[in-house]
Amino acid sequence: MALLEITDLTARYGDFQALFGVDMTLDPGETIAVVGANGAGKSTLMRSIAGVLNNAADQIVFDGLPIGAMSAAEVMSLGIAMVPEGRRLFPSLSVEENLLIGKYGRAASGAWSLETIYGLFPILKERRDAPATALSGGQQQMAAIGRALISNPRILLCDEISLGLAPVVIRDIYAIFPRLRETGASVVIVEQDIGQALKVADRVYCMMEGRVTLTGAPAELTREAIHAAYFGAP
């Protein structure tokens, strides 16, 4: 059985409909990538899963439990953590406090603790007492990822984690995904940068204008098919 099962998901912001019947599954230990252009509905999908946007309860089922109508705090306590777009660290908190607050709603034991996150990103340990706003963009992204990992989530949602970062920094950040796979966590990566996402994903969903236009394993998909699913048929 899939760990996360999304069925006929619709989402709207007032009069504007952002998702039109999205279907998606995520298996235990699997990493999937959701790619698409700006406005394709990727972030709306992530915000729906995380509970920031509410939907019909059974449109999103996590481990047999309908979570579509739950609040973000409830969803998080069940074990779905999100690295939000734009990192969104708390400016009033130090780097270490930003990490610690990641487990406020869920105290689960597992691979991730303050020590192992500092092991993964040693620069965060060096700057643990600095205000979060004093970090560089890449360091902020590391802190945002650590903040999500520290709750030992069963599913990690990563929304545009490479946005605005230098290629060398993106490479460092993507190096965490093999480690995550070892821990058995499932991951959903939302990206506009297809190249990085395809390297780490088991399966890819392409989205366009609120619909899934293409699904498959990276090896099975041709450049042309992805291009068509991403931008529409030529």
């Binding site: 609040s71 705090a73 998080m76 708390f90 009033s92 908190l93 406090e97 607050i101 487990k103 406020y104």
Partner: protein, 288 residues
């Protein structure tokens, strides 16, 4: 010279009382950007609660405060969860209007229940006890008031900067949506913050009621001093709130020493003077 030092000490100690009035206001504003216009009336409500416990059950005033504190916490929690949370949003007017209305409701409710007579909380021998501090005699109650203000501010700072709940307060204040992704329920965090502010209000109420007479209508006047202390201190800074309270207290005491009619006036003048020099207060938060 002795009388100058005496006036200064009395003023500083009075500042402790104003800081106690202001600390709860500052806490609520710091966490949820809510200006609680009913804060003064809630302190008066707590004073009547303590008074009732003292007169009806014959309790010591300090013991009565220990009982009143959790009751005030529950009142604050329920008030925030059921009423004030609904007023929070991008528009700052609804919370102002609702807390203004609440102030009127509390005042009239207290008038109905307790009449307009002035009352006082009896603290027995402590009322007149004093300690010799060199050539100056300092009242034990004012000393206890100031010590309580210090304890409250140290306690709130520890809570804010040393505990998981404090981190949640600051994170929710920064960004409600992202805080909810951490498993924080902003509505509960706000209710808890108001509950804690009402515990501080109960402590303030003890010293308010023991120091001088009070009646159901004095809340708004006390609120003004609390506001001035918070604003002088810099919005959201606890130590700034204490400093603000002390500045108002010292200005009032010196005003009274010069001419009794000037007591209140000089407090307000000090407030305006500080704002002219530092419009954002003495210890403004960097991110406001």
């Amino acid at each position: 010279m002795v009388s100058l030092a005496d006036t200064l000490i009395q003023g500083v100690l009075l500042g402790g009382l104003y800081a106690l009035f202001a600390a709860g206001l500052s806490l609520i504003f710091g966490v949820m950007r809510l200006v609680n216009l009913a804060h003064g009336d809630l302190i008066v409500l707590a004073a009547f609660l303590i008074l009732t416990l003292v007169t009806a059950l014959g309790l010591n005033a300090f013991v009565a405060t220990l009982i009143a504190a959790p009751i005030m916490f529950a009142i604050g929690y329920a008030l925030q969860a059921q009423v004030l949370n609904r007023t929070l949003g991008p528009d700052i007017l609804p919370p102002l209007l609702v807390t203004f209305g609440l102030s009127i409701v509390i005042q009239n409710g207290l008038l109905e229940a307790f009449s307009a007579d002035s009352r006082r909380i009896n603290v027995g021998w402590l009322e007149t006890a004093s300690l010799p501090l060199g050539p100056i005699n300092v009242g034990v109650m004012p000393l206890l008031t100031f010590a309580s203000a210090l304890a409250v501010i140290v306690g709130l700072n520890q809570l804010f900067y040393r505990t998981a709940l404090g981190r949640a307060f600051r994170a929710t204040s920064d960004d409600k949506v992202t805080a909810s992704l951490m498993g924080i329920r902003p509505d509960r965090i706000f209710a808890t913050a108001t509950g804690i502010a009402m515990v501080v209000a109960a402590i303030a109420a003890l010293y308010l009621g023991a120091r001088a007479n009070f009646d159901p209508t004095i809340g708004p006047a006390r609120l003004i001093y609390a506001f001035e202390a918070v604003i002088i201190g810099g919005l959201g800074s606890m130590w700034g709130t204490l400093a603000g309270g002390v500045i108002i207290g010292v200005a009032q005491t010196f005003g009274a020493a010069i001419n009794p009619e000037w007591q209140i006036l000089l407090g307000h003048v000090a407030f305006i003077a500080v704002l002219l020099i530092k419009p954002r207060g003495l210890f403004p938060r960097a991110t406001d």
